[in-house]
Structures are given as C-alpha cells and as structure tokens.
Amino acid sequence: MAVDASAYVSLDAANRALRGRLSRLRAWVRVLLGARLAMMGVAVGAGALVLLHGYERLYGVMHPLEDAVFPLLVGCAAAALVALIWPLPDRLMAASADRRLGLWDRLGTAVGLMGEFYPSGMARAQINDAVRHLSELTPWRAYPLRFDRRAKVMVGCLALLAVVELAPIPPLLLSAREQEEQAELRLVAQEFKPAVEELNEQADEAEDEETDEAAKRLERLTQRMERGSVTKRAALLELAELGDKLDRLDKEIKPPSLKTARVAAQQVGERGREELAKRAEELAERARKQGNRELEKQMREAAEKARKAANASQMRELGAELEQAAAQTGTMLAPAAVLDTVAVAIAGEEWDEALNALGDLQEMLSGDDIELTEEQARELAERMEELAEKLKDTELSELSECLKQAGQCMRQGDCQGAAACLGQGTQAARSGLGAARLGEGVAQMRAAADAAACALRRPASAQSQQSGQCIGPDDGSQQQIPPNAEGSALYAPRETPVDATPEHVRSAVREGGESYASPTRGAPDRVDESRVPYYEVIGDYSRAAEDALEREEVPPAYRGTVRQYFESLESGQTPAGAEPAAGDAGNPGASEEPSDD
C-alpha cells in the first residue's frame, strides 16, 4: 500500500513539537505564577503595613518604616524566585492543558506514549492526533489573564495603604490637643519645606546613596507633616532617628573643610590677578610699539580689570581677550595665564572653575602640537611649584603634590608628563571636593532636622509668634528654656510639699569622662513645672542614656534597670521592677514623668 509520507509526522518531530509547545506553556505559567505569588505577597505586605502604619498614625508609638516599597519589592523578588523553581514537569503541564482546553487527555497520553520504546500503530496515531491539536494550545488561552479574587484583594490592600499613608488623620480621631499639634506640624513643615527640597536636590547631585536616602526621608516626613498624616510624637521620633543617622554619616564621611586651602589660595589669587594684569600691560606695550592705539587702550583697560577681577569667570574672559590680543600682535599668551585663573578660582571658593581651568591646561599640555619656548615652560613650572607650595599643608595636599611633580616635568620640558600629573591632581581634588560637598550637605541636613525638631518642641503660643526658643533636653547645646514661655503644663510633675534645703547639686560628665558637680540654689521640683510633653524629649533622653550605657558611665549592674525604665516610659507604663533613683526619693513625680528641665 502506497503511503503519503508528508501526511505523517515522525516521532522525533512530534516529540519536538510537543515538548516545545509545553515549554512555552511552562514559561507563561511561570510568569503567571510569579505574578500570582507576588500579588499575594504584596497583598499580605500591604495589609501588614496598613495595620502597622495605621496603628503608628493613631497612637504614634512606633517608628514609621523607612521605605514601604522595599519589603514589597523583596516579596516580589521572592515570588519570582519561587515561580522559577516551582516544579512543572511535562506530564503536569500536559494534563493541566488537557483539562483547561478540553483536549480529552490527548496531550497527557501523548507525553506518556513518547516514552515507549516502540509505540504501536494506534499509539502513533494518538501522538499524531495530539500534535494536530497543538494548534489549540496557546498559553494565554489555556491560562488567560484574569482579574481574580487575589488581584482584587491586592488592589484593595494597596488602596488602603495609600489611604493610610496619604490621607490626613480624620479630626474625629484626634483630641483637641492633637489637632493643635497637627496645626503646628503643618506650620513647621511649610517653614522647612523649601530648605528640605533644596537639600534633596543637593543630595541628588552628591550621588551618595545614604545621603540621598536621608534627604528623601526628611522630605517625606515634611510632606507627611504638611498633610497632617503623622502625629507630632511620630514626627519627633523620626527626626531624632534621622538625626542619629546623619550623625553617623557625618562621622563616616569626615570631609575636609577646605578652609585652610581657601586661606592659602588668597595669596595665590592676588598673585594671579597681578600676573594677568602684567601680561595685559606687556601686550599694551607691544601694541603701542606696533602703533595699534586701539589695542593698546584695550589692553590697559584689561590690566585694570584684571587687578579688580572678583571671580574666575572674569579672569577666564580676560584670558580669552588677552589671547586674541596676543594673536593680533603676533605673539602667544603664556600658558601660565591659566594658572592665574586657577588661583583666583580657589581663592573665591569656585572649586569647579579651578578644576576646569586645570583641566584646560592639562588638555593644552597633552596636545601633540604644543610648542613652548624655554621661557614659557620655565614660567609655567615656577607658577605650578608656587601654587603647590601654597597648597602644601592644606586639604588639597594631593593636588599640591601633583602640581609639584608637574612643575618638575615642565622644567625638563616634558609636557606630556606634566599633563598626566595635572590629570591625577585634578581627579584627586575632585573626589576631595565631592566628599567635602557631601559632608556639607549632611551637616546642612542635620541642621535642618535639628531645627525642625526644635521648632516642634516650641510651645504652641511661641510657635505662632515664631519667637520662642527651643525647649529640649539639657544637653548644653541649643536647647534653652525660654525666659517667659507659657507652656501647656500638660505633664507637669506634682510638686513635693516639703521645705527642703533650697539647694541641689547638678552633676554631669565632661567629654573627657571627667565628672563634675555644681551646687545650685532652689529645689529642682519646686522651681519649675514641666511644660513639654514627655514624649517630645524621651527620644533624646533615652538616646543619651544608651550613649551613657555604651560609654560605661553606668555600672553594669544598673544598666538593665535604666533600659527598663526608658522602655517603660516609651510604652507609657511604670516599670515593674524599676526603683526610683536615690536622688528622686522625695520626688514621686520624677519616676512617672521625666521633666525636661
């Protein structure tokens, strides 16, 4: 019997077609599985965040999470990983596709028959039949995208999270005092918003991840304060935490101040102006000899301008003018003129200008067509060495060293070597400059955070008048009690009705670890009453206590008690085992409400 071979598919071809289609199906299923698991993860994560943030916003007892997106992203990545390793053998895929597409177990049977050593005619017919039905096996038909219950739950959780994050706390849930606090927060936020935005831009430019994160956190907090979606207590805690972080960053960066470099460059700047003026006068003289009155006049004016040049851009413009004039007189402006601009730029704290000018010089020296006279090379070398000498013991010492080497190269007539040295020096200066800017940015942020915290600690009346001073922990920095501040006396300790000795001793530890004590008139619990809610200062006090514990100023036996005490204050409970300190024995209020004064 003649057989039409084209009507039949070989077992190998059928096997390839079937496995290939199942592979595509498997890939699609993995995508869907990942999406499904991610949806579940996001829903669970968002639900947990809703609970946490909701609790934090209503009661302000927890620190807000730094970034809600991060755990959600981690969940998504985990889901993708699980989807990637989820076992999806061919048999399972085939059976699943059969069921979903109504293929009557054609694919599942064919996958099983593929493993047979020598399939019968009927088995071959079955495999052929399955291959014919492969056209129906489109992944998105078998597993269509559906907005199912899980997706709805996820969207619901995210919507809830957005409401909790963005919507202001309903006034119904706030007491009169809390509403007043919200108003204060808005006021402070509006006050600091422009500065915070500027800091954020600076942090973006600094390209430092941690600084950028801190700036964003500060900006987010300001936005939340402005929207009224954060309590005063949470805001203060966040600011305290942010302050700690910025302190850490500040210590890690240890930026050069560039102060001494600036001072050193003052003298160089003067010299630069004078040198450029001299070059202009030389050109004026040359123009006079050539009978070019107009150019002579122009150069004399340029000399005057050079002596009065206030910044690097003026110097640069003058340099360009002189270069043109030199060309008209048939000479060439000495390359050392660039260093005049560098000197003025450093003196004027125009670091970028200075480094750009050095870059120009490097480019000029590294060019193939550079031709310097012996005199020009010597002058350039001298100026380089002079600048190097001035910057020698400053924060730009690396640049100084490179300039010195470049000067030596120039003395030997090695322009390329000098250019290489200048390149190294410019790079070193740029990184030092970056660190300096980063440090300044961090310091500014720290100042902004402190200022915001300080503003929040002001009493409400002082807040509106913008005249009150900061009330805070007695750490000897900027916190002081306003002379006539009218606080709300919300957490005032009870006065002890005893006529104690009108003196008490205040003690503290200096930075070097040396302790000192000073007698002070007046019993502390009778002089003032607390005007600041304890939670406004508890962050600072507990941090100070932790620092003290770390510095071992507290005997080891008492550390547990101290920690317990502050923990109980944060949770608003009296510690079970915490005994009042000996000094507070006659002051029952001291163990319940720590005063800030």
């Binding site: 019997m1 057989v3 071979a5 039949y8 598919v9 070989s10 077992l11 299923v29 869907l32 599985l33 499904r36 989820w86 999806l88 048999r91 399972l92 895929m93 059976a95 699943s96 059969d98 069921r99 979903r100 009557w104 177990d105 054609r106 599942g108 049977t109 064919a110 099983g112 028959l113 019968s120 005619g121 009927m122 088995a123 071959r124 017919a125 079955q126 052929n128 039949d129 399955a130 597993y143």
Partner: protein, 343 residues
C-alpha cells in the same frame, strides 16, 4: 519514520475511521426504530463493541426487547430470545440431550442446542426465573461455552447477552446473585420516555408501515472492530483514576467518601475497572480519539459500577441509590487527583 511504521499508523487511523462509520450507521438504523433512549443506545453499542453483556433495567413496555432485536437485525447476527419465567429450567436455556432416531431405526442421544446458542441472546425478564436457572447463564457469559452431560460446547463469537429485568421491588422477582451481576459489563437503566418521545413512538407504531433496521455490518466486522478498540492506549493517570475510583466504592478504600463508608457492604470487583477502561476505549474511538480520557472513565462509571456495589442493611433501609454513591466518589476523587498548576 519507516514505511512500516507509517503503514501501521495509517492502518490504525483507517480502522478507527471504519469504527466510527459503523457506530454512526448503527445509531442511524437503531434510531429508525427506537425513539429517544440515546443514553441506552449509546451504552448498548459500547457494550456490544467491547464484547460485554448488558443488563437493561426498566418497567415493562419501554422497548428494551425491541432495542435488542433491532440491534441484532442491524448487525446480521443470530438473535435468540429467552423469556424467563419462574418455571424455566436451566436445560431450557442451554439445551439438552435428546434421543434421536435415524432413518435406519438406529437411536442415539444428540445434543439439542438451547437458545443460548445465538450471537445476541435476549434474556427477557431475567429476574423472574429462579436463581438456579439464572445461574445457567453464568458459564456461558463468562467462558462463552456451555457444558452439558460432560461435553463443553463453545459458543459462536460474538456472544452477547442482553438481559432485561424489572425493578427488584416488583412482585414475583428473584434478585440476581452478585456473581451473576458481576458478569454484566453494564447495567443500563431505561427511563420512561418523555412526552415528545411518546408522541413519536405513537406516530411510528400505530401507522401502516412499521420501521425496520437494515443490516449495517457483518459478524466478522464486529469482531475485528472490537479487537481494534482494545488497542486504544490508556494513559497512566487515566488508569490510575479508574482504579482509584474502583477502590473508592469500597467502604475501606482510601478515597471512599463518607456515604460509601456508611452504606456500602462491598465495593465493585476488578471487573468494574475492566469495564470502565474497556468501555472507555470504545467511547474514545466513537468520539474520534485515539486515547481514553478521564471523562470516558467517568461516563462509564455509572453503568459499569452501579450493579457491582452491594449496599449494607442501612443503605437498603435508607433506599440509597448506588448512582449517588458513585457520583460522590467521582467528585471526591476529581478534587483529590486534579492535576493543575496553581495559577
């Protein structure tokens, strides 16, 4: 692929095509005489092509006998009918030795074939006979042979018994013994026709011309196509489903639903699984497929298992229908064995 392989595959496809054409022809011919009863006809044809016996259960007058007769007409097979009555004896079925006198006056005992020696035997109202007589069918149904007076007589193939019975609760009936029931591939329930079907029956049977079925296939064709059906492959997971379903009808089975544990005394025998898979193969070919699907097994489960499940006293007292138990077992098993990815 070698030419031989291509030929084998092509032959299989041609035979499958022939199979479908035969079934379609049979359906058409039977449909000319029988009105409605699609499920009954379907199951009867499946049993016929699977080489199994069928027990048709229904009240008198529903066309059970006519169905079997029409089928035998369409297939050109020897048809024999045995009306079972309480006084029917086994010899009346199998045949007996009679004294035969030759033309020369010589006498000898010769075996006189009973009505069992047909291709299609209709055992009408089989439950009206006593168990002793019913048991006369046992050997014939299982072994396709009859032993009389120490001699075994082989029956012609195909040999199919279509037994009809009235519902057990009717008076004057003897329930078939379990061993007897187990030999039927299917137990098919014949339901009362609907109003529309009754109209059609009246129109066909009260006119001048009575419809007749025409011959569609020969005896040899039936035998060869029945052999083709056995070649249909069954995937492991399908066979697994059938076997687990069988075990789910046992009260001690792992997958047995609660109702089975409560109301069943004994579950279906292995013949039940054979019946499901064999009939599944025929169904697959009838559906134009070359493989048995789980759906085929599920479709065959009720007729293949319902007569193989023995209810306990509580089940009988509660009038539990085995069909409900099987459906429950299928549902439970589907949930337990559903192969799917969690998307």
């Amino acid at each position: 692929m070698t030419e031989w392989d291509q030929m084998a595959q092509r032959r299989a496809e041609q035979e499958a095509g022939r199979f479908r054409r035969l079934v379609d022809g049979l359906r058409e011919q039977v449909g000319r005489v029988i009105v409605g009863m699609d499920g009954v006809i379907e199951n009867t044809l499946i049993a016929l092509l699977a080489g199994g016996h069928v027990l048709l259960e229904g009240v008198p007058g529903l066309g059970k006998t006519l169905l079997v007769r029409t089928l035998s007409e369409a297939l050109d097979l020897d048809f024999a009918r045995i009306q079972f009555t309480p006084d029917l004896m086994p010899a009346d079925i199998t045949g007996t030795m009679v004294l035969w006198e030759g033309p020369g006056g010589e006498r000898e005992f010769q075996f006189q074939h009973g009505p069992i020696f047909g291709n299609v035997v209709l055992a009408d109202e089989v439950n009206r006979a006593t168990p002793k007589t019913q048991s006369a069918l046992l050997e014939a149904m299982q072994e396709h042979s009859v032993s009389v007076a120490g001699t075994t007589h082989v029956l012609d193939e195909p040999f199919l018994v279509f037994a009809t019975q009235n519902p057990i609760e009717m008076e004057g009936t003897y329930p078939l013994p379990e061993a007897q029931l187990d030999r039927f591939l299917f137990k098919v329930r014949v339901e009362f026709p609907s109003l529309t079907e009754l109209h059609e029956i009246m129109n066909r049977t009260t006119g001048v011309e009575m419809p007749h079925a025409e011959k569609v296939a020969s005896r040899e064709e039936i035998l060869s196509l029945a052999a083709v059906a056995r070649e249909v492959p069954v995937a492991d997971h399908v066979q697994q489903f059938a076997l687990r379903l069988l075990l789910a009808t046992h009260p001690e089975g792992e997958d047995a639903p609660e109702a089975v544990r409560q109301f069943v005394r004994y579950g279906a025998s292995p013949r039940g699984a054979q019946a499901m898979l064999l009939s599944g193969k025929v169904r697959a070919l009838m559906g134009g497929r070359f493989n048995v699907a789980v759906e085929d097994v599920k479709a065959s489960a009720l007729p293949a298992l319902r007569h193989r499940i023995g209810l306990n006293f509580e089940g009988q007292a509660e009038e539990i229908d085995p069909d409900d138990l099987i459906r429950e077992a299928i549902e439970g098993l589907e949930a337990a064995t559903r192969q799917d990815v969690p998307v």
